[in-house]
Amino acid sequence: MGRYIIKRVIMALITLFIITFLLFLLVRIMPGNPFPSERMSDEAIEKKREEMGLNDPILVQYKNYISGIIRTGSFGKGSSLYNGAPIATVLPKAMSNSFRIGGVAILMGVSIGLILGIAAALNRGRFWDVFCTVLSIVGVCIPSYVFMIFLQYFFAYKIPFFPFYFNNRNFLMSSVMPALSLSLFSMSTVARFTRNEMVEVMDSDYVLMAESKGMYGTKLVTRHILRNALIPIVTVIAPLIVDLLTGALVVEKIYGINGIGKLMVDAITGEGIDYNWVLALGILYSAMYIGIMLVLDIVYCLLDPRIRVSDDPGSSKEASDSTAAEGTVGV
């Protein structure tokens, strides 16, 4: 157990290291000029390059960059966003905005999805089952931002019940719509997966056995059915969490949230691309992604001891769609 976790952590660190290096290399080596050349003279550019250490060998630059992050938590300065403010001063606030919305969305998506899925499995063929099926079709077909636009149109514009834009002073009310629209996809996926897994477990022999021993009701559902049905669901939830983090891009645009997604869009779509921001956010996103995958692996291995024995690193990192998960779990 301990050995497995240590192994996974080391693997994750190595992957993160390689990715930061790749990102750094791509951003620095690729053609493109961080300075607007028509407005600056050649000498000024050369002076600026020297000052920013852009003339050092790439490995030295990388070493300086990483040691800057590790020792002082500084990602350098932005060049165009926020008038070139240091990234480390802007980032924490954006992260807290994004994570609070994302956290509410994950809580909503997973809890409502689980409850719906359980309700559907226990009332097969009746209202909740049909509702769950419809929701899963809607969740797959309607992109979440379309759903957001409609929510905003009807519940903020036509019926002004919720505030149109997110604001921090009124967090509770103004986070309802962003979180709901963000969690629609994960809610529907979790609900569909929970239902299918529950149904499969409910038809199995050991549930029949438990029932014939005289077990019934909540105890049967929580101890026997849910416990076993939950294992595959964990694999679906982790990619969804990552999706929530990247999907937040659109939510942040639509609801005017100053989060990391908005920073990323600003960094890419601005007049001049902000290299340092792209790099910093790229590293942040990759680190979050790898971190979530690592946590998932550990949770998965706590839930299902067989994973440790087989030790297939690919088995739990599946794409968010169901077919991919089904395709490799069997191997």
Binding site: T15, L22, G32, C141, I273, L281
Partner: protein, 348 residues
Amino acid sequence: MSKKKNIAAAPVAETAYVPKAEDFEFDTSLDISTDRNFASQGFWKGVFTRFFKNARAVIGLVIIVLIILLSLFGPSMNSYGYKDIQSIKDESGKEITARSIPPRIPWLHKLMTGEEYDDPFADKTFIFGTDSIGRDLWTRVWYGARVSLLIAFVTIFIDMIVGMSFGLISGFYGGAADIIMQRFVEISNSIPRLVIVGVLATFMPKGIGLVIVALLLTEWIGMSKIARAEMLKMKNQEYVMASRTLGAGNARIIFVDILPNTIGPIITQMMFSIPTAIFTEAFLSFVGVGIMLPQCSVGSLIEDGFNNITTLPYQIIPPILVLAFLMLAFNFVGDGLREALAPRIEDM
């Protein structure tokens, strides 16, 4: 003793049946001569039968065909170009642009209300209306749908060429090659797509090319995993050994012997990765990284509509419907293909 004899003799005694000529002909009124389930039929014929029996899959296919036809012929069904601003000169020679006209079909309007429009564009047809700078939305929506379909075909290409070959080769050779290739997959898989788009945007011009390169770098991973898993299942089977004994080389075994046997899950995975790719393009265009003006895609049209949603809500509906129907249709067809390609015993 006598009882037994009675029972045995009874039917013979009652009906002394004389066979007729018809008895030796096939009864064509009942269709029992063909066994649809277990008759010897080709694999693809079975897939076809099962696919077309599935109502949802057929609906999905019809929607896809319809959208393809409309995107091919829709823009040329009227005289407007996708980037032409519609305008008209009034008596004094002043130019009036057709800004933000709600959907209008003159003959239908006349049929319904008996009146005619009383503005300069009374005789023009704008089925979906015009956008806020006066371009015909019908043309733009179908032009945008072309972009989505282009993305769908690019995805098929990426899945089939890159992902499938990578997975099959990695699974087939195993050992050191597999380990290196799987580490590569793992690292590629740990870079979120958004980060790749961001890094690409630092040195590539924004536009459809950027989206396609981003898809090329990320979309093959899921398929390679499926292909590898299928290969691991197949490669130790007898027919592979037989083929090797007969002298087949590795390339032949991978692509001629094993590939046709793994085609089911591969096609299914491909169908499910198409909506993801279409959605990614729409999402990037919505954010402003994808397609650039004056071109348009469904995503950028939704963004245009979103900017005017409170005043001109009709503008956002057609692109949303096209996108939603595309996603729905590809998911239905994917589901249908999965069931048709890998039927379970209880479905038969």
